[in-house]
Symmetry: C2
Subunit: 367 residues, 2 copies
Amino acid sequence: MNVNGNPTRTIWPTADFAVEIIDQTRLPHEFVTLRLENMRDAERAIRDMQVRGAPLIGVTAAYGVALSMRHHASDAALQATCDMLVKARPTAVNLRWAVERMRALLSPLPAAARAEAAWQEAARIAEQDVEINRAIGQHGLEIIRDIHRQKLARGNSGMVNLLTHCNAGWLATVDWGTALAPVYAAFEAGIPLHVWVDETRPRNQGASLTAWELAQHGVPHTVIVDNAGGHLMQHGLVDLAIVGTDRVTAQGDVCNKIGTYLKALAAKDNGVPFYVAMPVSTLDMDLQDGVQEIPIEERGQDEVTHISGLCDDGQVRRVMVTPQGSRAANYGFDVTPARLVSGLITERGRVAAEAGAIQSALSSKDK
Amino acid sequence: MNVNGNPTRTIWPTADFAVEIIDQTRLPHEFVTLRLENMRDAERAIRDMQVRGAPLIGVTAAYGVALSMRHHASDAALQATCDMLVKARPTAVNLRWAVERMRALLSPLPAAARAEAAWQEAARIAEQDVEINRAIGQHGLEIIRDIHRQKLARGNSGMVNLLTHCNAGWLATVDWGTALAPVYAAFEAGIPLHVWVDETRPRNQGASLTAWELAQHGVPHTVIVDNAGGHLMQHGLVDLAIVGTDRVTAQGDVCNKIGTYLKALAAKDNGVPFYVAMPVSTLDMDLQDGVQEIPIEERGQDEVTHISGLCDDGQVRRVMVTPQGSRAANYGFDVTPARLVSGLITERGRVAAEAGAIQSALSSKDK
């Protein structure tokens, strides 16, 4: 998608065999790119969350292996590189997947062939991510176009108002995003639309990342506090909610950023379609009841008690919003039961959030 | 309630006929009291939100009239004072009510008698507020005690976990508060309890004011982001939700701070009792369907795009969290339909959020 009018990805190789990324910790107040020259650069970018979002983390790790192979391609170097990268963010499923894919490909090869093969494989993983998201965008576009046509048929302007939570945009992937891929596809198709962007406390990925990427691409949007979605839905100001997900169970329960469940309840209460955009790789067929079975990460309380932003003097600072001596709790995710989900938007098409449909359409990951 | 171990109210007269308040704009980072010596001081305190919360605004205005009468007690001065105070925050119902009560009492009196009568009446309004809230606290205490006993009977520790939104504590009233009055009453009664405090974006009255007053009084509490309540309820970590309200309709719909509706949906979905604490004066028998009939104030977008807090250098600063060029919307309140409300806790006891019960128990405001 566009940055300052130029088509941009979150990660790209350079002609001299380095890799460049956007330093996402500096957004939305500064657009800074970083050059990764070796495996340690890639590991640091993942660990310090300069790159984030499961698909992007996976691609960065794959490139990390490739960068390493340019310098040292021995068996020992390959194993050490893979072991170190996997630990950069231990809970990221895509990170492990990408690293193990690289390890499996490279291990049987002679050391001299590894650098070139790794480079090509990392690029292939990146392109596959783009293609998956493009397909999600096309399938989601159909939903947005249907709503657009229904509104036109009712004599309305045809403007489609969407609501999204957190950042499941192109910044979380290589390009397009998951939840925002249908938004970009509809925008490219000329459908008039507007996105309500939940700020998504505590880390504010909506107010910072989602708002930034929509603004850069020219997509009309408005930032709201996480408290506002229910009121908007009560008053007919939301036609469709689309969110991303970190994990979906075999029965269609959806784990996503904390607060997603509250928006899904409001959508249900007001007859607003609530869709979850996901690559099929996000499905975890080993889990059934998401509320009972998915462990929810508790993070440091600083993310609740303190907020970062841009001061009038141009400095980015952190301010404390709570009193000294009040503790805070910080649950990273929640689980939205399948009964609140209108459907899953995958690269294979739309699928009902229901065990039978998921089993038949999605359970084979290699389809 | 206590501040630094000393019983404190939000407003109190001095021996030399001035009035002191807590400057709530400085909380939670500084505890500063201000001396009001004349009507202009009172008007400024209301307008600049150094005092906030409908009951406290009313009492401050009544004292504003009393301060004015010490200096000028003519008919013209009385009318000018009342007219100016009413405009300090035009939408505050209690402000108008308190000022008109003072005007009606003082107008028939000779000018020489007005200063003393006004002083006594302002004190009476303050004491009435305290008594109303104390009664709300006692009626709410019964609910908390029932839950405590049920948990004990199930072999549980008996610890009661409450959740509240925004600030409906003693800082919004003269003492006790509305939603927090039952919490303080239960705490005084020795019932083990813990309060989940929604930070309540965009103005953060939970993270700042509610957390501060609970901390000062020694009530165990934890600040959470507004997104977290649903997750807590799904996992049995909330026994009871209590919120305040700005207006309740004849059929029991509840207008309160934006986001209340989302918490009420989660409470319903998880079988958690959801109560609304309110003085009977908050009832508006002219309204039926709150979602359709109550106009929702839209406030400036700065409250969403910017957040104030304490920097590491000890300065309170404002930081911007959104990118340049992203607009924000700021709806101040939402309406929770009566079907989601377990009951109303008033100074006359518990009342179902339902037209018949409200009509018979509450419609006579002078009971």
